[in-house]
Structures are given as structure tokens and as C-alpha cells.
């Protein structure tokens, strides 16, 4: 491997100072499970690495009752076992538990998963369905924006090279809310998702859908919300007919996104099947909806 200058800051402001020095030639090291491979393959050749391992203030999971704030260096092992996440954001815990292997989950971080922005990133659809926001800081200031707004392409985001993700802020679903997470891979462990689907449904008192948030990954260049299906479900009862129609709608959306890609015939079918399964699970869980 090439000689790289390696910085190990202990505070966010130290990290930002290093980062502002020459952002285009610097790579941020979070857990390393993607970056170390990229370095060895020379897919990236930075002059500087800023290792966040010892930065205080990027770890920890906290709740103020309305939302859960997750430090960007929280690992997937921490997420899948955290009592707050398990109770309030179960689909995020499930998504975390589906990442890679135990070894990878012990190192890989939620901030790294977002910044790397892989098409098949396991945490991103769950976070999209939960309306997650990011807190980004740079030496020049800070901004907060929706996760959805930073995803622009395969491994591409609008996060600037001089910026650092410090927190992921996830509103706690309120009211009568149900959720479902489905990952389809070739095997259970160490599988790159063929499809990731996350669904959060809030039911009204009259047993109709008040609001549905649906996000999918690995079926397009970025993970995305499926607004056509969300709008279709709004105000509907979860009858077998409505569920089947929703399945037909996601099939159309995925088919249009993937166009003539070789995987399109398979992926549009599994997207339909996964959505039907997710809606059925929610229907069963809430009983009588």
C-alpha cells in the first residue's frame, strides 16, 4: 500500500481542521470495512487518512422522547443490540442485524454506510422510511438535511469532501405505527442485498392507512422512497385487494427504474413479492386493519 499520512484526531474540531487542509486528497476512515478494500484495490488513493476511531462525540445513541440521535461512528452491532433502537425503531435494528457478518458489524458504522452510499447499503432504506435526517459539519459551519436529499448516485452523495456526518436523527414513529423490513440476498450472512425493503405504516383510528413510508434499495442507482405506492396506500384499508394492487404498483416503479437491465425481470418480481409480504405482516400484526 502507498505511504499515506494518517491522522487520528480526538475531537470533531480537530478532525475538521485536518479535513479542511486538503479535502479532495483526504479519505475519512470510519469502520474501514469498505475503505480498506478500496485502498488495497487502489480504487481510492488518498494522500491523507483521517481516522475517526478515537473521536469523542461521534458515538452513543440518545433519545429525547421525540427522536433518536445516533452518532455516526455507532457500529451495526451496537445498533442491532441497542434497547432504544429495538423498541422504537425495530426496522433499523433488523437492517443493522442483516449487514455482512458479526465481524463486519463490529467495525462497520452507520455513518460510513451512508457516506459510502452503496446501492445495496442495508441501513439506508430503513433510515429513508423512518424520515432520517443527517447532521453535517465542516470547519465553516453545519447543516441538517434529509438523508433522501444527499443520495444522488452509485456511491455518490452531495456531502462535500470537507464535511463530516456527526449524527443521524431519526424521529420516533408516533401513534399506531407498524413497520416491516425485508432483505433478499443469495444467503443469510455476508449477502449483498438483491433487494432491501423498509415499510412504515401509520394507521388511522378508522382502520385505514393514515401514512405509509416505503423505501427500497438495490433496485436502482440509489435507494429511494416509492411515493407512487405511498400515495396509493393512503386512506385505504389493508384488504387483500389493496395489498395486491400495491404490489402491482411497485412492480411498475421498479421496472421503470431498471429499464432493460438484465436483473429487471427478477427484481421487479421480488419487489412485488416483498411488498405484499411486508403489507401482509403489518396487516397480521395490527389485526383487524
Amino acid at each position: 500500500m502507498q505511504a499515506i499520512e494518517y491522522f487520528q484526531p480526538s475531537t470533531v474540531s480537530e478532525a475538521l481542521a485536518f479535513l479542511s487542509h486538503s479535502p479532495a486528497k483526504t479519505k475519512i476512515l470510519a469502520g474501514g470495512t469498505d475503505l480498506v478494500i478500496q485502498l488495497r484495490e487502489r480504487a481510492v488513493e488518498p494522500d491523507f487518512i483521517v481516522d475517526l476511531a478515537n473521536v469523542k462525540g461521534l458515538r452513543g445513541i440518545e433519545s429525547d422522547g421525540r427522536s433518536i440521535t445516533i452518532g455516526s461512528m455507532v457500529t451495526f452491532s451496537e445498533l442491532e443490540q441497542n434497547p432504544l433502537v429495538l423498541k422504537c425503531l425495530p426496522i433499523l435494528a433488523q437492517a443493522a442485524a442483516s449487514v455482512g457478518s458479526p465481524q463486519i458489524r463490529n467495525m462497520a458504522t452507520i455513518g460510513g454506510n451512508i457516506a459510502n452510499a452503496a446501492t445495496a447499503a442495508d441501513s439506508i432504506p430503513a433510515l429513508l422510511a423512518l424520515d432520517a435526517k443527517l447532521s453535517l459539519v465542516s470547519a465553516g459551519g453545519s447543516r441538517e438535511l434529509a438523508l433522501e436529499d444527499i443520495l444522488v448516485g452509485v456511491n455518490r452523495t452531495t456531502i462535500e469532501p470537507k464535511e463530516l456526518i456527526t449524527k443521524i436523527i431519526v424521529p420516533i414513529p408516533q401513534g399506531k405505527t407498524f413497520s416491516s423490513f425485508i432483505k433478499i440476498g443469495r444467503r443469510k450472512a455476508l449477502a449483498i442485498a438483491r433487494l432491501n425493503l423498509s415499510l412504515v405504516v401509520k394507521m388511522a383510528t378508522n382502520q385505514t392507512v393514515e401514512k405509509a413510508n416505503l423505501a427500497v434499495g438495490a433496485v436502482g442507482t440509489t435507494a429511494y422512497r416509492v411515493r407512487e405506492v405511498e400515495e396509493f396506500l393512503q386512506g385505504k384499508q389493508l384488504t387483500d385487494e389493496a395489498i395486491a394492487d400495491a404490489g402491482g404498483k411497485i412492480l411498475e416503479v421498479v421496472a421503470a427504474k431498471l429499464g432493460s437491465r438484465p436483473t429487471a425481470p427478477y427484481k421487479k418480481k421480488i419487489a412485488k413479492g416483498a411488498l405484499i409480504k411486508a403489507l401482509q405482516a403489518i396487516k397480521d400484526e395490527c389485526g383487524g386493519c
Binding site: M1, A3, I4, Y6, Q8, L29, G32, T33, V36, I37, L39, R40, I49, D51, A53, N54, S77, G100, S101, P102, Q103, I104, N106, M107, K188, A189, L190
Partner: protein, 155 residues
């Protein structure tokens, strides 16, 4: 070159290396602890598994700088003198080893499990070694060896 200090198998250690070297390469080539194996080099096979602060990680995906100040256990750290660790004994007794290449990583994943959960279910065991590939045994004997070790050793 930078000085990186950490504990390995209970011994305080300092190495002067390029901090962007992989933990795996430092363990094998600098510290000469060759019980840790390199398989795929990309986190798919788990042959290079070591424990960092008691948790299994793929040492091929960790840069040495990341373990500054932390505690590492490799397969060499399990036996006490010539007395093998109960997991090592169980793997031998149960025939859970064929070519042996996956064994160091497999045993360390199992150790991390048993340290946290001394009475795991079969499902817990299978999940704990889901990041370790074995191309010889078909896993049954490995699972049985871990069960035997969890029940206090050789039947």
C-alpha cells in the same frame, strides 16, 4: 512510520509501522504470529478473525492505526502454556478440523460468543460463526464442538 501501541494476547506491545498497514499484516509479518490466516482479503471468509476488545473482527479490514490502545487476542493467546483452551480441545475431540485453515478464526468467533453467552442455543452458535467459512466440514462438527465446549468441555 508511526509508533502504535496496543496489547496483544495480554502483552503490552509497541510497533513502529506505517499506520495504514492492515492489522492482519502486522500480526503475521511484524509480530510473526502466523496462526492468524489470510483467506479472501475482503471480509467474506473470516479466516483472519481476531478479537479486538473481545469482539471478533476481520483483521484484513482493519488498519493497524485503528487498534491504537486496544486489546487484541489471536489464536496464540488461547492456550495456557501447553494446556489448550477448552474450545481447542473440543474442536480436536469432535473432529471439527479438516484442513484447519478456518479453525483459528472459527475458534475466536466461538470464544467471543461463549464469553458473552455461556449457554448459547444452536441458532446462537450458527449466527456467531456466520462470518466464518469452512469448505471442509459442513459445519455440523464445528457446531457440536462449540456446544461441547459450552457444556464445560469434553464429554
Amino acid at each position: 512510520m508511526k509508533k502504535i501501541s496496543f496489547t496483544i494476547n495480554g502483552l503490552a506491545t509497541e510497533v513502529k509501522v506505517d499506520p495504514s498497514m492492515r492489522l492482519l499484516d502486522v500480526i503475521r509479518d511484524v509480530l510473526n504470529l502466523t496462526g492468524t490466516k489470510e483467506g479472501c482479503g475482503e471480509g467474506e471468509c473470516g479466516a483472519c478473525t481476531v478479537l479486538v476488545d473481545g469482539k471478533p473482527v476481520d483483521s484484513c479490514l482493519v488498519l493497524i492505526g485503528q487498534v491504537q490502545g486496544r486489546s487484541i487476542t489471536t489464536i496464540e493467546g488461547l492456550s495456557k502454556g501447553k494446556e489448550l483452551h477448552p474450545l481447542q480441545k473440543a474442536f480436536i475431540e469432535e473432529g471439527a478440523i479438516q484442513c484447519g485453515y478456518c479453525t483459528p478464526g472459527m475458534i475466536l468467533s466461538a470464544k467471543a460468543l461463549l464469553d458473552e453467552n455461556p449457554n448459547p442455543t444452536e441458532e446462537d452458535i450458527r449466527r456467531s460463526i456466520s462470518g466464518n467459512l469452512c469448505r471442509c466440514t459442513g459445519y455440523q462438527k464445528i457446531v457440536r464442538a462449540i456446544q461441547v465446549a459450552s457444556r464445560g468441555g469434553i464429554r
